[in-house]
């Protein structure tokens, strides 16, 4: 190698960025501290947020506002299918059967050898 080649060889090529090496050769062991920090931060923060929401929610219920269950009950009651039949006059005809339906039991022309109940002796 002559002097010119030696001089050129002394020029140091620019290195790639350190991020590239990290991207290529990131091992699970090197990621562990980052993950530990992330989990160590995320888990308590999530727990705090959940606790805060639950406290705020229970505070609303105590102060007299509708609890989350009440609107659901109202909705269910508004649906016709879930309505409980009320004993008013409109239902009377369907619940009180007329005596005509049972007339065949009072006929004398029965083929049975056992007589029907007499009308005057119910009990």
């Amino acid at each position: 190698m002559n002097s010119l080649e030696a001089q050129l060889h002394s020029w140091q090529p620019r290195h790639p960025s350190a991020a590239l090496k990290r991207q290529l050769f990131a091992t699970p062991a090197s990621l562990a501290p980052k993950m530990a920090w992330f989990v160590g931060w995320l888990v308590p923060a999530t727990a705090c947020a959940l606790l805060t929401f639950s406290i705020l929610d229970s505070g609303n219920a105590i102060s007299g506002r509708l609890s989350p269950v009440e609107p659901m009950v109202t909705t269910l009651l508004s649906i016709q299918g879930f309505r409980v039949p009320a004993p008013d006059s409109s239902w009377k005809g369907q619940n009180c059967l007329s005596s005509v339906i049972f007339d065949w039991t009072n006929r004398s022309g029965s083929t049975s050898s056992i007589t029907s109940f007499p009308q005057n002796r119910i009990n």
């Binding site: 060889h9 090529p13 790639p16």
Partner: protein, 179 residues
Amino acid sequence: MAFDWCLRLYEIKAAELILYGRALGLSHGEAEDVLQETFLALMQKPQVPLKPEHYCVRSFRNRALNYRRSLWRRLTRELEARRWFEKSPSEGPAERAAMNALAALPMEQREVIVLKIWHRCTFEEIAGLLDISPNTAAGRYRYGLQKIKLQLEGVVYERDELTGGTVALLAAAPPVGGA
């Protein structure tokens, strides 16, 4: 383990491959992208290649030549610093000019120079890689090196863009004394 030999290879070759990428016309960022692709592919290999360094250079070259260059990439390449080498405290103006001269060489010449000097390839290996004869490789090397030498010695050369890249060598005029 694939991971270990790739890491060792990366430590040895990364900067040289970046320089080779520059010689092939890529920006520093583009050369990094191709370097990443090359090593990702290498890490997928189940076995260590017979000559890892040469395999790596060949793989890098193929990927660099196939690298799709968008308009945005071209623009960023133009905006990016042209520096190919690390800054050295002993770097003088002549050396800086020589570095720029290397960057200004035709791609065929600077590619051979980079492979010969920084990758320590023989002319036979370069010929095999570029699919040319060893004599052609040697000729490109000598011609390119001569231009850099002239630059280092304070000779200014101008490149005539209009005549297809022919180079005219103009001796620097001696300073006029007492003027």
